[in-house]
Symmetry: C2
Subunit: 540 residues, 2 copies
């Protein structure tokens, strides 16, 4: 049996150091380059993907009553991959059967297995890139990064936080209480880590691996068998993950069924049945607030970690780099056609316009500047496809079409830019997809207040501010801190408000309705297991 | 303004070291000695207590509409202390008004204030001892320890865990992402700690300070104003705590209203109104499972940390110190008349008896041994009062009286020892107070299984095992770990299963119905605040 823990110990230690320092660090290169991943990695990845299309997906030993799967690539083709599917009670029973051995395995064995799974996932990043591209609609470069190395970073981060938490306190101690002149009382104590129970990871359509890895790896590292429930339209990236995980678990002497795949059909979903099973004690969920609310109301036996909807705001108060600002926002609005939980939606611009290094710009001039920057960015169709990707879900197109009538069109197409009043109903909730609203506000502080208020009531994950007034920047930082929104100020280069880097940016704060969990803080792992002691007088 | 943080820094560092090592440590001596607390401390404490009786309790600046308070000492006298009382909305508003300044204060200011509060509470431990004695019915020695130093230990532990968690990650970072041959991307990041909201501490009748300090101090240290809601029969120990806290807060430049007292009357309780207020985001509760369930059902806006009911089991399998075992259990059953969440209730003894160093003992001989040990322990009335204390709540006496008919009386009085069948309904739930059940089981493993099963369904905080079989001791440790119960093995000296020492024993595991929180693990503090970032390109 390979000692995966020893092999990856250095990486683990570096990850722990990084997450405390929160500077840039990653062991998983984000550049899809043959020089990094091997000369044939690109071709191999594509070939491996092609070899999966139209076939039965192999998960040896996995519970199976029938085959399911009806994924259609947002880029056109039907994937025709058939996954093993089992009924919810069968999956629950299989996970329960794996629980004891997983719990009994030492922390190092479980953490070592998690690290090896991540390392192997990294080696198939090109395959994961294609799998992500053809289930989410992301362009390949983004699918490679978000579906591969960036997701692996987030998984590793969760393992590192779980490791620090599991090893935080002594697991044995001799307690010696002085008794004046008498002999001290001496007690030997031993602590066992006890996992919470079964864990359910409910994936989303747009970021199947990135959003699911933290919960999957946090639960697995802390000893909870994980049932991975992919969105029916984005199964493959998680099926590959489950496949690799089961291989490594088996090689580590752990039960392969500690990671299971729960495939269902849109018209016969099993998520609710899984989520309300008494054995399921942990649920990680990314998706709509409506289903998040359903889980809270009905899966009362479980701890629920969520990322839900939100309305991300941008306040354009002033800038000394008007073109840089417009170019930066153009990219943020266009990237993956706004199908990101971190994408800006409501852009607040003072009705009287803003000061820039190019002189005063009216509201309409700011609107024009943004529209032109988007046009320029997307002028080349190939580049446009590489940035915007494809729309993952037909509902997103309908949503954009419906929004179109509710404002003045500043820029048509993808992304759609509409001018609307500050109180327009369409701008008071998340309009997921390639739609953004330009909103006149009384002044910048009014825009900050409006964006913050929406964050408090409807949730928000990101906010951005363009400003030259340091005092107002501080006020904005305070206002968004109060409502739990991470704020980016004056981004004009190749960093975008949508981006959240593992080991540095905590993703979602847990402090507003956009989610109750944070990737990856201590709270995300701390209740996935408990400590139980036995003690007895020392035999000295 | 005194630098409380600097003054107590050494104690904080030692506390952090202790809680990681989990060996014996305390800065607050448990011995009620004039040599430690000052020659006149004993007399001063009693005089201070007498001076409070029959008067208005002073909480300068505290919201007040009227005066309330109808405490009656379980030892006889009515306290006739009148506390300032305000309506729930007024308390909520006052706490909210204190929130911003408390949140804005630095971590060191808040933690320094908490440490100073604890240090001052320690200095009035004799007063707290009398206050605890005359509200809980504990005998003075126990009231001094549990109401004073041991409670202060638990408060300090919570502050230390909160401190480590708040300072765990960098609060600023320069993130520098390499860009090949181009200049790196450089972003400066800043994190703010954002408190969860208002905190409500719901105290209990029997351990008003010990059980409430962890929640109060964890919330205060992390920046959440705390409304302290004492049990109407045990106000004084928490009123003294609030008094000291408000003094120190004011001296620290923090709003005194960051700690408030919510006094009510048994027939006009305000707990539910406070608990369901949308501003209340944290609730610490010790008490019945029924009200715990009510909170979970109704205070959905809040995180709820509970200690509830449970059935603590003892399995008497074998011993090589029969008299030591009986004496140890006699004390555990008698101490404070069993009014402890950690007191044993169900004692499982193999129907065929056990092996001891005195030869085989039948079930009845074991029962006799226990009864005789209790009789011997309590033979001297003064010593008996010093151990058993008084009954805090008349309902406890009724409960014991009702139980008496449901089994064969092994020993009458306090504590009452009854022999009942393993499936007797009376032994399937908590019977809080001076009642224990001797239960014949098929064999020791059967007893372990029964106690563990009850723990899983009804909760348990402690378990004890007397055994000479190492393999069975391991099995028991595993069985109780699985159901989240801390197990004590072969206690025969001056350490008792009821005792839980701060910095070493985690109290309650959070892994069975006896409570969802653990004093004091990381999870107890980690969600009381969130981290929010703002970032911008570095100006190098």
């Amino acid at each position: 049996m390979t000692d995966h823990f020893a092999r990856h110990r250095r990486m683990l230690d570096d990850a722990v150091t990084a997450l405390h320092a929160r500077a840039f660090w990653t062991p998983f290169p984000e550049v899809p380059s043959g020089r990094i991943y091997g000369d044939t990695a690109r071709a191999d990845g594509e070939a491996a993907f092609r070899a999966l299309v139209g076939r039965d997906f192999a998960l040896p030993g996995h519970p199976e009553r029938r085959r399911l799967g009806a994924e259609v690539s947002p880029w056109g083709d039907s994937l025709r991959i058939a996954y093993p599917a089992a009924d919810a009670p069968v999956l629950i029973a299989a996970a329960q059967a794996a629980a004891e051995a997983l719990a009994a395995a030492g922390v190092e064995t479980r953490v070592g297995a998690c690290l090896e799974i991540l390392a192997r996932l990294n080696r198939i990043s090109f395959l994961l890139g294609h799998a992500t591209m053809h289930t989410t609609g992301q362009a390949f470069a983004m699918a490679f990064q978000a579906g591969g190395p960036h997701a692996q970073d987030r998984g590793l981060e969760a393992v590192a936080v779980a490791w620090t938490e599991m090893t935080r306190f002594a697991d044995t101690a001799r307690w010696e209480k002085p008794q004046g002149k008498a002999a001290p009382l001496v007690i030997d104590k031993h602590w066992t880590l006890v996992p919470a129970g079964l864990s359910l990871a409910i994936g989303c359509n747009t970021f199947p691996t990135w959003n699911s890895y933290p919960g999957i790896f946090a639960s697995l590292a802390t000893g909870n068998p994980v049932i991975v429930k992919p969105h029916p339209a984005a199964i493959l990236p998680l099926a590959l993950t489950v496949q690799v995980a089961r291989e490594v678990l088996a090689e580590s002497g752990l039960p392969a069924d500690a990671v299971l795949l729960a495939v269902d059909e849109p018209d016969a979903p099993i998520t609710k049945q899984l989520a309300t099973d008494p054995a399921v004690r942990l649920i990680d969920y990314t998706g709509s607030s409506a289903f998040g609310g359903w889980l809270r109301e009905n899966a009362r036996q479980a701890q629920i970690f969520t990322e839900e909807a939100g309305v991300n705001g941008v306040i354009i108060a002033a800038t000394d780099d008007f073109d840089g600002m417009c170019a930066n926002l153009a990219f943020s609005l266009s990237l993956y056609s706004g199908q990101m939980c971190t994408a800006p939606q409501n852009l607040y611009v003072p009705a009287a316009g803003i000061d820039t290094e190019q002189g005063h710009k009216s509201f309409d001039q700011v609107a024009d500047g943004l529209a032109q920057a988007i046009d320029a960015l997307l002028a080349d169709p190939k580049q446009a496809a590489g940035i915007c990707g494809a729309i993952a879900n037909p509902a997103t197109l309908d949503r954009a079409a419906n929004a179109r009538d509710q404002g003045r069109v500043i820029r048509d197409g993808t992304p759609l830019l509409l001018a609307v009043d500050a109180d327009a109903p369409v701008a008071q909730a998340e309009c997921f997809g390639p739609v953004a609203f330009l909103i006149p506000c009384a002044d910048a502080d009014d825009g900050i207040a409006r964006a913050a208020r929406l964050a408090a009531t409807k949730g928000a994950i990101t906010a951005a501010l363009y400003d030259t007034d340091e005092a107002r920047i501080r006020r904005a930082a305070q206002a968004f801190a109060r409502v739990g929104v991470n704020l980016s100020v004056n981004l004009t280069g190749a960093i975008y408000v949508n981006q959240s880097a593992a080991f540095s940016d905590f993703h979602v704060t847990g402090a507003n309705p956009a989610g109750n969990a944070c990737l990856t803080d201590t709270a995300f792992v701390a209740t996935r297991f408990r400590r139980v002691m036995w003690r007895r007088p020392a035999t000295v």
